[in-house]
Every structure is written in structure tokens, then in C-alpha cells.
Symmetry: C2
Subunit: 145 residues, 2 copies
């Protein structure tokens, strides 16, 4: 069934691409054009990416949190989409604007609607993440001065 | 079909309860027990509410934003849930901790997985909202001093 196939592929995509950073596999999961429909706070919000642009986003997004892991809470398939609710954990090992690396653990949660084409390839997403929760943790971890 | 029934009921629930504040209708939409599985930053996060508790949450949540409107972006039904992606707009007409009323417009977005029982009544939700976006707008609107 297309719905189960897409859920399985999404789990593999999250593990291979976002958890493990194997960007050389992006073409197995993504369509040639990937659109970020909504993702407030993400530097690529609203952009349409080709595969090179998609790989660049993954590499830059993972740089500060190279051991990040997504903990999938729920997968909901309907129409051309699979929605994923998720928790996320990582060690803050690289600098991000305003927050030099602290080596501390941080946690986050979010929900993402991933869109698929007829070949079960990802064509984009609509996402909200709890950015405030992360910033509060980074702020707390900051070394004084 | 149960999936379309639930989507229709969810649209009505959002309009009646959250947009218009008609809490006297809560019993038509909600099961006697409503659980907030995940809702970071919400004062009721993790709680299990009876109908009176549910109405109290709606009244207190709407107090600072009485003209709030949810703009539903997508509805995704699967299993016992319907996931709703949404934008939100309101006028900041009441005080909230740290932010006295400014009369300014604010906008937000989020995604919510609503769970249903066999009678198509709501039994709870798992939600993430872009809290940081709201706080940045409230901060910007603050009158100096």
C-alpha cells in the first residue's frame, strides 16, 4: 500500500539523511525539486531547492548538532502527505549564531507534513518546531560573559 | 466515512470553541476525559482534563486574544487521529505574563494531532506551536519602559 510504503521510506529518510547525515543518498528519497512550504526560523523557509541545495541544507543544519537523533512519535498518512510528530535530541557541538558550542545536550519537538509525488519521492514539507524551547536551553547553557 | 466526519467535526470544533469561545458546546465535541499529551509552553501540558477543566483552559487561553482565528492549512486523517496544520491571527487585547496588552496584531503557526474515540469525540491532542515567533512579535510591540 502506498501509505505504508511512504511511512517506511520516511523512517529510512529520517535515519539516513537527518540522523546519520548520509547526504549522498538524498536522490533516493527526494524528487529533483524540493519545496520548503513553511518552516519558521529555518534559513531555507519558503525556498525551492534542487538536490544540491537540499544536500547543502542538510550539511549546514547538522553542523552544530552532528549526533542528532529524531524520535518519531507518530506517522499519519493522508492524500499526498505523511505527517510526522517527533522529539529530537542532540549534543551542541558546533557554533550557531549567538550560541558558541557548549557540549551540552539539547532536546526539541516538532511536527512535519512531508509531501510525496506519485513515485513516493519527497517533494517538500510544511513544518513547525518548538524553537523557543531550544533557545531557552541554549541560553541556560551559555557560559557567563 | 469516519475520516471525513472527523475532519468536518474538527473544523466545527475549531470555529465554535477556539475561534468563537462557545465553551458551552464543549461536550458536543469532547469526550469526558481530554488529555494534553504534548504541548510545550502550554500551562496544561501533560494534564488530563474533565469537561470543566477543558472549558477553563479555553476561557483562560482566549482571554488575551479574544478575536483569535485559526486558518486551517491541512487536515490529515489516519488511525484514531486527525492532524491539523494551521496559521493563527489575533489582536493582543489582554495581559499575559510579561506582556501587557498592546492592541497589536500577532500571528503564529502550529501543527496539532487530535485524537478521537469510536464516537468521533476528541480525547486529546499532541501539539507544537511556534512560540518563539509570538514572543518575538510581543517583544517588538512592547512599549518602552
Amino acid at each position: 500500500m502506498a501509505e505504508q510504503t511512504r511511512k517506511d521510506r520516511l523512517r529510512q529518510f529520517i535515519r539516513d539523511i537527518w540522523d546519520e547525515g548520509r547526504v549522498e543518498l538524498a536522490g533516493e528519497y527526494c524528487a529533483p525539486v524540493y519545496r520548503i512550504h513553511h518552516d519558521p526560523g529555518d534559513p531555507w523557509d519558503g525556498m525551492t531547492l534542487d538536490l544540491d541545495g537540499f544536500r547543502d541544507r542538510v550539511v549546514k543544519s547538522r553542523a552544530a548538532f552532528p549526533d542528532q537523533k529524531f524520535l518519531i512519535q507518530g506517522l499519519y498518512a493522508d492524500g499526498d502527505a505523511v505527517v510526522m510528530t517527533w522529539l529530537w535530541e542532540a549534543t551542541h557541538l558546533g557554533d550557531i549564531p549567538g550560541f558558541p558550542a557548549t557540549g551540552k545536550r539539547v532536546a526539541m519537538s516538532g511536527a512535519t507534513a512531508y509531501m510525496f509525488d506519485a513515485s513516493d519521492r519527497l517533494t517538500g514539507h510544511w513544518q513547525v518546531t518548538d524553537r523557543l524551547g531550544v533557545y531557552q536551553q541554549l541560553q541556560r547553557n551559555k557560559t557567563p560573559g
